[in-house]
Amino acid sequence: MKAYSREFLEQLYRTLYTIRVFETECIKLYRQGLIIGYFHPYLGEEAVATGACAALREDDYIVSTHRGHGHCIARGGQLNKMVAEVLGRETGYCKGRGGSMHIADIATGNIGANGIVGGGLPIGVGVAMGVHVRGSDQVTIIFFSDGACNNGVFAESLNLAAIWNLPVVFMLENNQYAVSSPVEEMSRVPDLYKRGEGYGVEAHQVDGNDVLAVYEKTCEAVDTCRLGKGPVLLEAKTYRHSGHHVNDPGTYMPKERLEYYRARDPIKIARNNLIEHARCTDQDIEAIEQHINQQMEKAIEFGKNSAQPSVEAFLEEIETN
């Protein structure tokens, strides 16, 4: 392993753990009926967003998905506004108008989640096109999963980014399912990064449960993009720890497979890094976790205490539409 500062490894751990806690606590809120609609947890996939976003500069961009909480947090999103949004409150990122599937955080360059699978792909390429026209060197990471690779816009977007050498990292979170459909049944070549070659796009596979592996590969890809030699396609193999959304028991996920990936829990791996390479103690880590737990509690408090959007104000707002 390369040498990383304790500070950096702690920072990664903080992000991973924050995502874990956010999802875990929100699932509780969902089961209490306080969150409604679709809620797609990122549990088990935390290392992808965390490693990828750690490779970015502050003025870079990301484009997220329906499973977007992890991306938002990894990019520096605020728990208060996130919780408030999934609770549908006026203080949320989208004033309660968007909900889980539409959180966007323009301040951190997070163009937003998307309810259309694959919808973010062309949008992200367009963000990069804007960069290109302006002559800047910002990089855009587009997150998407295996299912989105079968929406035609994946191939189109890959090709468009390629012919214009756009600074895009296509970050394929291959969690091996589109809802209940296993990637092996939806493509003859489940190693989806292999689609890159036909379009002349540099492509690699990486262990999506190992935050440092993701970080390192993304750094390389970002460098390539920054030099005007993009795009790069990265496939991070990972697995969900639960069903597609909160109400999906995920019975189609074979037990052994799930166990295998649970054993390779990204949080555990990152925790080990801290202990083995940064001389952190269990107590050090507990302190970090404690702090995050408290932040999340406060965020929930904030969300719950926030006002519902005013129906009257809303109706007035849309009068002029």
Binding site: I36, G37, Y38, G88, R89, C94, G96, R97, G98, G99, M101, H102, N114, G115, I116, V117, G118, G147, A148, N150, N151, G152, A178, V179, S180, S181, E185, M186, S187, Y252, Q308, P309, V311, F314, L315, I318, N321
Partner: protein
């Protein structure tokens, strides 16, 4: 149900809309081996709204087909299969996602018969689901029937009850031309009587869901239930509303609406979609043209608010006509 003569020997069961749809699919799959079904998660998982539960076991993976997230192409596939003698039924989980397939539906399915000089037919059904009401926000809550209504060559069906759902879906599958069949997410669990016989409902036959004399209320899909509830409550207040459910928007049972308006002289059309460019406007334009002299007051349209559907449940509810909005509008138009 009032327009069909139902044999009294027939056993009626109380079925949920999703069960009635499942029966329709099941019966047509059994009756005609050219019928097959494609969609995301419809086979193994039985569909997000459980409409296709059990079909895989009964009819096997050749006819009940789980697809990748390639909406445009698997819909296009149904066009090709239909042209060559099959009777595909494709499911697009949300009508919002039909924006990905509208080329296949409008430029291919709807026009092929015409473009081929009448030699080719495209007997396929697009089953999809629309409407708001579950906190699913702007990209999973639209009411987009107007897009398909505006397309020559398509039929558009929107059932509101279990009975209608089954009878209309069977007719849609048997139809020689492409049919867009739009279900409503809030209706799947609604129960209603369904006979245990092989019945169909003609596409283009509206249904008077409640006869009345004072005012005509036209509503379809998710709006029928609350319009009927409003009519019941108004009846207690001495206002006798007639509630018409066209059931299929194309073909439209214009005559049923016109003769009702000639009788009641007042018309309110209630739709979930936004008003601008909606089907309600079109019905209003027809009625004002063909029953001008019968109208005692301007035709009123109650429609969805002009906005994408918000996530927050209170805002979401405020976007769509409610029972009390309907009652208020009736009283306003009747000056009572």
């Amino acid at each position: 149900m009032s327009t069909e003569t139902v044999n009294t020997d027939i056993k009626m069961r109380e079925l949920m809309v999703r069960e009635a749809l499942n029966e329709a699919l099941c019966e047509e799959l059994a009756r005609d081996e050219r019928v097959f079904i494609m969609g995301e998660g419809i086979a193994q998982r039985g569909g997000s709204y459980k409409v296709t539960v059990g079909l895989l076991d009964k009819f096997g993976p050749k006819r009940i087909i789980d697809t990748p997230i390639s909406e445009a192409s698997f819909t296009g596939m149904c066009v090709g299969a239909a042209i060559t003698g099959m009777r595909p039924v494709v499911e697009i989980l949300f009508i919002d996602f039909t924006s990905l397939i509208i080329d296949q539906i409008v430029n291919q399915a709807a026009k092929y018969r015409f473009m081929s000089g009448g030699k080719g037919r495209v007997p396929m059904v697009l089953r999809t689901q629309g409407g708001s009401g579950n906190g699913l926000a702007a990209q999973h809550s639209q009411s987009l029937e107007a897009w398909y209504y505006h397309t020559p060559g398509l039929k558009v069906v929107m059932p509101s009850t279990s009975y209608d759902a089954k009878g209309l879906l069977k007719s849609a599958i048997r139809d020689e031309d492409p049919v867009v069949f739009i279900e409503h997410k809030l209706l799947y669990m609604d129960k209603g009587p369904v006979p245990d016989t092989d019945y169909t409902i003609e596409l283009g036959a509206g249904d008077i869901k409640r006869p009345g004399n004072d005012i005509t209320l036209v509503a379809w899909s998710g709006m029928v239930k609350r319009t009927l509830a409003a009519a019941e409550e108004l009846s207690a207040q001495g206002i006798d509303a007639e509630v018409i459910d066209p059931r299929s928007l194309v073909p439209l049972d214009k005559e049923m609406i016109l003769s009702s308006v000639r009788k009641t002289e007042h018309l309110i059309i209630i739709q979930e979609a936004i008003r601008r460019g909606g089907v309600a406007s079109d019905i209003a334009s027809i009625v004002q043209e063909e029953a001008f002299d019968y109208l005692d007051a301007p035709i009123k349209i109650l429609a969805g608010k002009n906005t994408p559907i918000p996530f927050n449940v209170n805002l979401e509810k405020a976007c769509v006509p409610r029972q009390e909005d309907i009652m208020r509008a009736v009283k306003e138009i009747l000056n009572t």
